[in-house]
Symmetry: C2
Subunit: 305 residues, 2 copies
């Protein structure tokens, strides 16, 4: 790996070196390093680009890193990864993607991730998207995530796109069986003329299933954001979705949550708020000696933490 | 007017007799009574069914009643009413519609109301929809309401459809200029296999314009409801939309609010909650001697009050 790849790896996966445990590192459309453990197998797909990640039942406290790095300009990388998580497993999956585009051609990564989470399994999924490089070529990421959670399963997703992605169309679709839980925390920041669309669909099919989808975003300069979140209650269930956005400069933000209750025992709530940074907050920090732009940065940082 | 028409008139307009002041009563597709005052003129349209209601500037504390009654089965009545409200006027407009269908043919009323609210004028608009009759013919109402509020204008809308309408597709679109205010309070109840769709669009175009759109609904038995509410902030403005629904039996409810901020000084909020009547509330009333169904009625009544 060269310096740029190492920098991207740190940004998207918090890694300074090759990780311990299971991993698969993909760079510029090709797998460049792979490691499996006794409990976690990684098998390249034969019919299309991508891997199957098979985690044995009862696997505890293990992690899988599957970062994707794009450093060549003009690359168009699509990848299909399937995760099979055995019953009672308790694992962390870290799946960031970084694009460095120093050229004038568009670089694009479309990742389709499907999760099959076994009974009573617990998964923490972390996905960071990051872009860098001063080329004129666009940095584009369109992730699709399909999550099936079996009885009693628990999935927590931390999704972040803080910097450098020019256009993103994010789709996450999940179906929860009896007693299953989904927690989503999304953080988005756009600047320049960036565009970000994010679309969640949660089907609460099982009795006592529950979902909490929370998105926080900041839109700066001329950027545009569209947030869609649908929760469908088909059984006795609880769903909550929330979208809070800070709007700055000439940006625009739309929030379109959708609740559908098809069962009398479905309890669904959503909230959203879009507004600029409160004047009093800015004033307070400026009284403490910060410039206006330092104060803004501080508030945005706290909001997205 | 016969007994059924008098009963409808009481339900939709709270009237026991012909009202004082300005009014236009329409029954089965024809105007049957009209009265104007020195400040409020009512002129039948020449190119299509409907009336122009012209309210002079500075008119204070006057009311206009324009109820519509359908008592023949199989009638299909479309009407176009335009309201021109002069500067600084302060008036109440009561525009209910009642359908009594005792036959097997469909009875339908499509009313298109356009409001041109002058500078600093204040309008209270009350619209009640009600259906009765034990015929198999459907009772259908599709109201379209377009509201233009000039600088400093204030419009408060109370929209209610509590009983007897089999299908409704309600569209309300409003545009607010500088300092204008819109308050909407909607109450809906559906039962049987009824369907209700309600769609609000509020364009906050003017500086310091504001809107508050609140809908409360109860869906019983096999009925279905869809609530859509879009607030678009194009200037320094404040918008709030809220939808609270009680779901009962096998009903289903969808809520789809949409906030779009196109200006950094737009402050927009929405909230929604769908759920059944809380068990504790029922228990409390039953401890006081009410049956379960009496307790439910009491809670629904309080919720829609």
């Amino acid at each position: 790996m060269d310096g740029i790849q190492k920098e991207l790896l740190e940004q998207v996966a918090g890694l300074h070196e090759i990780p311990r445990g299971a991993y698969n590192i993909r760079a510029n459309g090709k797998g460049i390093a792979r490691s499996t453990t006794a409990n976690i197998d990684i098998i390249p797909k034969e019919d299309k680009p991508g891997i199957d990640i098979r985690i044995k039942a009862n696997t505890k406290n293990e992690a899988v890193h599957i970062p994707v790095l794009l450093t060549e300009s003009g690359i168009n990388d699509a990848v299909y990864n399937d995760f099979f998580i055995g019953e009672n497993a308790d694992v962390t999956i870290i799946a960031g993607c970084g694009i460095h585009n120093g050229g004038d051609a568009k670089s694009q990564h479309d990742g389709v991730h499907r999760f099959f989470v076994g009974k009573n399994a617990k998964v923490r999924y972390v996905e960071k998207h990051y872009g860098s490089g001063d080329g004129k070529g666009g940095r584009i990421m369109n992730p699709t995530t399909i999550v099936n959670v079996d009885e009693g399963g628990y999935v927590e997703m931390e999704l972040a796109q803080i910097k450098g992605i020019d256009s993103t169309d994010r789709n996450t679709e999940s179906t929860l069986q009896k007693g299953a839980t989904l927690i989503v925390k999304e953080k988005l920041m756009t600047h320049g003329t960036q565009y970000a669309k994010t679309n969640f669909l949660v089907n609460l099919d099982g009795e006592d299933s529950s979902a909490n989808v929370v998105s926080r975003s900041v839109a700066k300069e001329q950027s545009k954001q569209l947030f869609i979140s649908k929760i469908v209650g088909n059984n006795k269930c609880a769903g909550h979705t929330e979208c809070d956005a800070i709007i700055m400069d000439d940006a625009s933000v739309s929030a379109v949550p959708e609740l559908t209750a098809n069962c009398v025992d479905a309890s669904l709530i959503h909230e959203a708020a879009i507004g600029k940074i409160a004047g009093e907050q800015l004033m307070k920090l400026m009284t403490l000696g910060l410039t206006e732009s330092e104060a803004e940065s501080k508030i945005v940082e706290g909001f997205l933490k």
